[in-house]
């Protein structure tokens, strides 16, 4: 079959091979695209070449996601077979594709089926790439044998005799101490160090990587290698793992626990023990004992203690602290078992490569993943790391263009003279901005774009490669100023062209403020890692560095305070001092009196020993306490240790007025209903309520709606009455009969994975040349509609305990974005207190509900984490109050049903009606439905229909989960996903609820049993709301909440809360409802940051921009 796209994929000539898919698809018809898809699908099934298969899969994904839905003749409505969805969740991608293709064959192409095919091809593409990386990691020579060891007797490694040599004086064993710098990427590699990309296009994978020592300014005396790993023999047959920074330790006595990564905070240490071959991965599930293995490796009756410390360098530094810690631990373990010849000192080049390969293996085993440059701290100084084409003897040859592991060229004095190294240290201010965000979606976006060779992104990639050469040139000529210019150009040019989300409002505010303050002495900005906001670099004229460090500390803290409700900050920003490390990873053997672990170790472990009866302490531990005691008296590094130990032994009591009191104050202030709370707790405990009880009875008849149940406005030319509706709506707008209600009570749990920011204030995207918040977008749409109709629209923003004050002060600081009409906040009047979930509900959510399985190792880690969380819930007390967090993270909004009653209760509607008696309608919408505006046609349709509520729905895509429009017991209503008796019922429904609702105010008051003049009667209003609330179902839901601790560490806990939902108004017989099908771009919601890129690419962002009129 002659296929143009297959020709592009298989071409050897770069000018054909690197052609953009989009360019081809723009001019193709639907029929042509379907023919190409058929050919591509057949091609990818038979091709033995990984690169061709993956590229075909990404082509298929992009055609179904971005092109077919836009083509004339592709219906918006269609059904996605649930069977295929189930297979997709279980990672049976090939079978899912077959199911979806069969449906497409029988039913014809449609937007929903294409959305399902796009998801399946996308996931299969990434699975194929992940499988290849996994195969390569396992087949790297030096790693293979560990997978063949299935019995302790097969274990060939032995501890080096030097480590078993006891001290003559006290019998203690020596300590192997490894110190490792972290790495920074001086060019930002345009993400080319993602394994897949280096293997696809090794020539494009180039990184300038520097090993550095660090100190937190104002806290640490001088820069030193921040990563430390220690290993020693102990006289107990256990594997003792200790993380000093995370204050975690475990004495592991059985093999399965070594492979249980998420049980505690010691996953990284476990991964190192496995990747280094001490506990080879082949032993997982062998049923043998750890003591057997330790006896063979270390000696009978002996064990190992492995300790890690990163000297409190904050998480999310973008300096690859975790990977270098893994490298450091792996290096120590490999030295100890003779796999590296150098027991002490630096490693040799071949040993560094092996340690890097094992660190990658460790990351894969631990279910995480970094780039191939991340273990750069193992190497010394400055180095150029480049992808390497697969050659004879490489396991990748014939499979991918590039090798898994890159090559490292250490820059010599000619490449980067000593002077430039010095000047760089004198000019660069390295900071952690405090933000911690998940860069996973960004890495997926980059992979996808590079493999698709999307035009602008591919061009930008070429520019970024050119910028690296420019920086290399600037280093060779000792021109730090030009380095700054180049990194700035990279950030504002290629990097943002490839991934707009790499920049944030916070970052750009900082850059602007620094530029304003330092003018020409500010030489440049430089982003570290996957995205900005965390680790960043600012380059200054050397004489201003000191002032710049002071200023950055102040401006970051100030800007963080301004934006802390809008963006996810994990910690207070810090400024680092740094120095280029000339050694790479380095080890020493500590003997005799020097055989001491880091001070943090003793601060953490010694109190436990001191509480023990001295007679029960072993001789080694007693000797260690002696050494430690002597060191405390003489070593300045241990100054203050006695006080620290005393504090740990006798923790100070809680000061009054702490968390508990604040929480109770908040509850009182926000109308917490304790009796309702206790009733829910009782019901939860007794099993009367819970996730499974949210569902309607299984026998409930649920069917899709009929064509006459909806008015379809999704096609531009239908139906006939549009013009009359538009005129009707236009008139109402001119008369000032309508107001907008934006629901802004939520914390965007999915948006920031439970970070507790105000989603409404999140500057989510650059529109009209600037980052815009959700609120700003909604006001811009209202501004435009008001101006077009000559009457400013009142815009109400429904807030909650969490969002009210931040939104109020945010809007005040920005003068309400100069909104020309009434801009009113409607404060929440109800609040709930989160509870520790029941194990029953956790199991229901994780075991009974359909779950997307993860890739093999990640799934293992998730299973382990979930087991730990169920244990946490049981230990803490099921259905007890969740109070172990910031007070605001313990409360919860109680569902959007309450937002309209709040308008009644807080007097906002009463006042507005007083000021505008002509007001008859409200348009209610979610904060993330950014395409919804007061469209006159829809308003006219609502008026003409005469219903109390007109709901907007959209046709369903695979990702639209959570209920839909249905006939339930023959009544047309919106059915929440939580209430669906069976998962598959949802897949029979054609339409998804957008939540955008047109409300007829007089009818609504009738439903509540209120007259207009009774709105000022608080008791009457409260009674009517209470009466209505009893008719509304209560759902139990699980939400993820982040708990922050330490230095940028975050834990996510599932907590239980209850909600009443607005869509259930449609179930009340006394409420008349109508339903309008609207175009997807109007009705879709932005729930997850991972959606943003596709939202930008498929034209949705441009659509929203066309509805907006900015104040500036």
């Amino acid at each position: 079959m002659s296929s143009e796209l297959i020709r592009i994929i298989t071409a050897q000539e770069p000018e054909v091979r690197d052609r953009s898919l989009d360019a081809f698809c723009q001019d193709a018809s639907l029929a042509q695209l379907l023919v190409e898809c058929e050919a591509l699908d057949a091609f990818r099934r038979q091709s033995g070449n990984l690169y061709e298969r993956v590229r075909a899969l990404f082509f298929l994904y992009a055609i179904h996601r971005f092109h077919i839905p836009r083509k004339a003749g592709c219906p918006a409505t269609g059904k996605i077979p649930f069977d295929g969805y189930g297979k997709l969740l279980n990672r049976r991608f090939e079978e899912a594709i077959d199911v979806f293709l069969t449906a497409q064959h029988h039913e014809g192409p449609s937007d929903p089926i294409s959305s399902a095919l796009a998801a399946a091809y996308h996931d299969l593409g990434f699975q194929t790439l992940a499988n290849q990386v996994r195969r390569s990691v396992r087949s790297v020579r030096g790693n293979q044998w560990m997978f063949r060891v299935g019995h302790p007797a097969d274990q060939p490694l032995r501890l080096r005799p030097e480590l078993l040599q006891r001290s003559a004086s006290d019998g203690s064993f020596p300590i192997l101490a490894e110190t490792t710098p972290v790495r920074m990427d001086l060019t930002h590699s345009a993400w080319s160090d993602i394994f897949f990309l280096g293997m696809d296009y090794p020539q494009g994978a180039r990184v300038l990587n520097i090993s550095i020592d660090l100190a937190v300014r104002g806290r640490d005396a001088a820069p030193k290698p921040p990563v430390e790993a220690y290993l020693r023999v102990i006289d107990e047959p256990v594997l003792r793992l200790v993380s000093v920074d995370l204050a975690a330790h475990a004495d592991i006595t059985n093999l399965p626990e070594v492979f249980d990564f998420a049980k505690d905070y010691l996953g990284l240490l476990k991964a190192a023990v496995i990747a280094s071959g001490i506990v080879p991965p082949g032993l997982e599930g062998s049923g043998r004992t750890l003591a057997e293995l330790l006896s063979r490796v270390v000696g009978p009756g002996l064990g190992l203690e492995i300790v890690s410390s990163v000297n409190n360098i904050p998480k999310g530094s973008r300096l690859a602290v975790s990977t270098n810690l893994l490298g450091s631990l792996t290096s120590a373990c490999m030295r100890a078992t003779g796999q590296a010849k150098s027991l002490t000192g630096p490693l040799r080049e071949e040993e560094r490569r092996l340690v890097a390969a094992r660190a990658i293996l460790g990351e894969w085993i631990g279910g995480s993943g970094g780039g191939w440059q991340d273990s750069g701290g193992v190497w010394p100084g400055m180095k150029l790391i480049t992808g390497a084409p697969a050659c004879e003897g490489d396991p990748e040859l014939g499979v991918s263009r590039g090798r898994l592991l890159p090559t490292h060229k250490i820059l010599d004095q000619r490449d980067a003279p000593e002077s430039v190294r010095q000047h760089l240290q004198e000019s660069l201010v390295l900071v952690h901005g405090g933000m911690a965000q998940n860069v996973g979606p960004i890495l997926e976006m980059v992979t996808e774009k590079y493999l698709l060779r999307s035009g602008p992104e591919w061009e930008a990639r070429g520019k970024a490669i050119g910028i690296l050469d420019r920086i290399l040139g600037a280093l060779a000529t000792d021109n730090v100023r030009d380095v700054g210019a180049a990194t700035t150009e990279n950030f504002f040019g290629p990097l943002q062209a490839i991934i707009p989300w790499a920049s944030t409002h916070y970052t750009e505010t900082l850059i602007a403020r620094v530029r304003e303050k330092f003018g020409a002495d500010f030489w440049g900005f430089w982003m570290l890692g996957g995205m900005s906001g965390g680790g960043m670099g600012f380059i200054f004229a050397p004489q201003r560095k000191q002032a710049a460090q002071d200023f950055l500390q102040e401006v970051m803290s100030r800007t963080k305070r301004e934006l802390q409700n809008a963006l996810p900050f994990a910690m207070e920003p810090v400024v680092y001092n740094f120095a280029i490390n000339p050694h790479g990873t380095f080890a020493r053997l500590l003997n005799g009196d020097d055989a001491l672990l880091p001070p943090g170790y003793y601060a953490f472990m010694a109190p436990q020993w001191l509480r023990t009866d001295p007679r029960q302490l072993g001789p080694l531990r007693r000797a260690e306490l002696d050494r430690f005691g002597a060191a405390c008296r003489g070593d300045p590094a241990l100054a203050g240790m006695v006080e620290t130990l005393f504090d740990r032994l006798l923790p100070r009591g809680r000061t009054s007025g702490g968390t508990t009191q604040s929480l109770s104050e908040l509850l009182t202030e926000h109308g917490f209903d304790n009796s309702q709370h206790e009733q829910i707790r009782l019901d939860l405990k007794n099993g009367r309520t819970g996730l499974s009880q949210n569902r309607l009875p299984p026998a409930t008849p649920i069917h899709d709606v009929r064509p006459e149940d909806v008015v379809d406005l999704s096609e531009p030319d239908r139906p006939d009455g549009r013009e009359q509706w538009r005129q009707l709506g236009t008139r109402a707008l001119r008369e000032g009969e309508v107001a907008v209600v934006s629901l802004a009570a939520g914390a965007g749990s999915r948006w920031t994975q439970g970070a507790g920011v105000v989603k409404a204030l999140h500057p989510f995207c650059k529109l009209g040349g600037r980052h815009r918040t959700f609120i700003e977008v909604h006001l811009a749409k209202s501004r435009r509609v008001g101006r077009l109709h000559g009457a400013a629209l009142p815009h109400l923003i429904a807030t909650s305990y969490l969002t009210h004050e931040p939104i109020e002060s945010f809007l005040a600081a920005r003068e309400g974005y100069q909104y020309p009409g009434p801009l009113v906040l409607s404060p929440g009047r109800t609040v709930g207190l989160r509870m520790v979930p029941t194990a029953r509900d956790l199991r229901f959510a994780w075991e009974e509900m359909p779950q997307k399985r993860l890739d093999e190792q990640q799934q293992k880690v998730r299973d382990s984490l979930r087991a730990a969380l169920i244990g946490w819930a049981q230990r803490t007390g099921e259905a007890t109050d969740y109070t172990d967090n910031l007070p605001s993270q313990c409360l919860h909004p109680v569902g959007h049903w309450f937002e309209i009653p709040n308008l009644l209760r807080n007097g906002v509607l009463d006042r507005l009606l007083g000021e505008r008696p002509q007001l008859k309608h409200l348009m209610l919408h979610n904060i993330d439905t950014v395409g919804a505006d007061v469209d006159p046609t829809l308003l006219g349709l609502h008026q003409a229909g005469g219903s109390c509520l007109t709901f907007e729905v959209i046709t369903r895509r695979l990702e639209d989960r959570g209920g839909g429009l249905a006939r339930v017991n023959d009544r047309v209503r919106l059915l929440e996903g939580l209430a669906m008796p069976r998962e598959e019922d949802e897949f029979a429904l054609s339409y998804y609820n957008t939540m955008t609702t047109w409300i007829d105010i007089p009818q609504l008051l009738d439903v509540f049993g209120l007259k207009r003049d009774e709105l000022s009667d608080a008791d009457k209003v409260a009674a009517s709301i209470r009466n209505m609330a009893t008719k509304m179902p209560t759902y139990i839901t699980l939400k993820d909440v982040k708990k922050r601790w330490g230095h940028g560490q975050e834990d996510v806990f599932p907590v239980a809360q209850f909600e009443k939902l607005w869509g259930d108004m449609t179930a009340l017989p006394e409420v008349s409802c109508a339903y309008a099908v609207v175009p997807r771009m109007r009705g879709q919601q932005l729930k997850d940051q991972a959606q943003l890129d596709a939202w930008l690419r498929d034209g949705s962002a441009a659509f929203v921009e066309s509805l907006c009129e900015w104040d500036s």
Binding site: R141, G142, W145, R148, D154, P156, L157, Q339
Partner: protein
């Protein structure tokens, strides 16, 4: 190339007594382990045998050698500085002749019509180069042996061209540098304790000795690694088995192997079955 000399090292302090132990050989005759080893060497054509020993051990070894005592040239290793050093002590004895080298703590049982040493010497004489006896060994055992990397000689299944030698490598190192195409995954060629070496090895040991740090011990493997880069050096997968009499139960297994390979096989088998049958199974 004709092999007329053999060197047997027996100077390791922990192994001094091993060759003096008695066993019953294949022919049913009780002999010392040393004598069995000397027979192995003599069968391969060694007319003169250099025995490297600790000072003071000569008398005991002469007695244990029996008829072969007359062929022996005793070489003393004055201080124990490693296996390679022991061999180097025999350089005057070796002179400019190629030689068969055996260790004194291993006994060999051939699975072919010719003895193990004969197989090795035949190949060395035919190929006129150094040849080491090797056996494919699973990776969990290689940390006990000198291990080599190389490739099979075209058309000869048991013969390998040696490219690299590492003493007691970890499997991590072995996988990177010692994989031999054609062997089963996870298997490496490890020394059999038997070599035919050209006299240039003595010069290479001398070079290695010069580079040795004070207190370090000289091994044979680094010299053999150098040998592979200087002249043709082969390895033969010997048709036979080696038995280390220096490990726990080593002598017992060596004795059983000799017995099962000799005249008394049926008698030993019968007694073992009786022993097993009469032994009550413990609870």
């Amino acid at each position: 190339m004709k092999i007329r000399k053999a060197v047997i090292t027996a100077a390791a302090p922990s192994q001094r007594a091993l060759p003096l132990q008695s066993l019953v050989d294949r022919d049913g005759v009780q002999k010392s382990a040393l004598r069995i080893i000397l027979e192995e060497a003599a069968s391969a054509g060694a007319e003169e045998i250099g025995l490297v020993i600790n000072p003071g051990d000569q008398k005991a070894y002469s007695e244990a050698a029996g008829d072969f005592a007359s062929r022996l040239h005793f070489v003393e290793q004055p201080n124990a500085r490693g296996y390679g050093h022991a061999l180097r002590c025999a350089r005057a004895f070796v002179g400019n002749d190629p030689f068969l080298h055996l260790v004194s703590d291993h006994l060999y049982v051939s699975r072919a019509a010719t003895r193990c040493a004969q197989q090795l010497v035949r190949v060395a004489e035919a190929e006129s180069c150094s040849v080491s006896g090797v056996q494919p060994t699973r990776e969990n055992e290689i940390t006990y042996y000198g291990t080599l990397g190389g490739r099979r000689v075209h058309g000869q299944n048991q013969l390998y061209e040696v490219e690299n030698v590492i003493e007691k490598p970890t499997p991590t190192e072995a996988e990177q540098t010692l994989i031999v195409p054609g062997l089963r995954a996870g298997n490496y060629l490890c020394f059999f304790g038997m070599h035919v070496l050209t006299p240039s090895v003595m010069g290479l040991l001398e070079e290695c000795m010069r580079d040795l740090a004070a207190g370090d011990r000289l091994q044979l493997s680094p010299a053999l690694a150098k040998l592979a880069t200087r002249e043709r050096y082969l390895a033969l997968d010997v048709q036979g088995a080696r038995y280390n009499i220096g490990v726990r139960y080593g002598l017992l297994f060596a004795q059983l192997a000799l017995s099962f390979d000799g005249n008394d096989r049926d008698e030993i088998l019968t007694q073992m079955v009786e022993l097993l049958a009469s032994r009550e199974r413990s609870a």
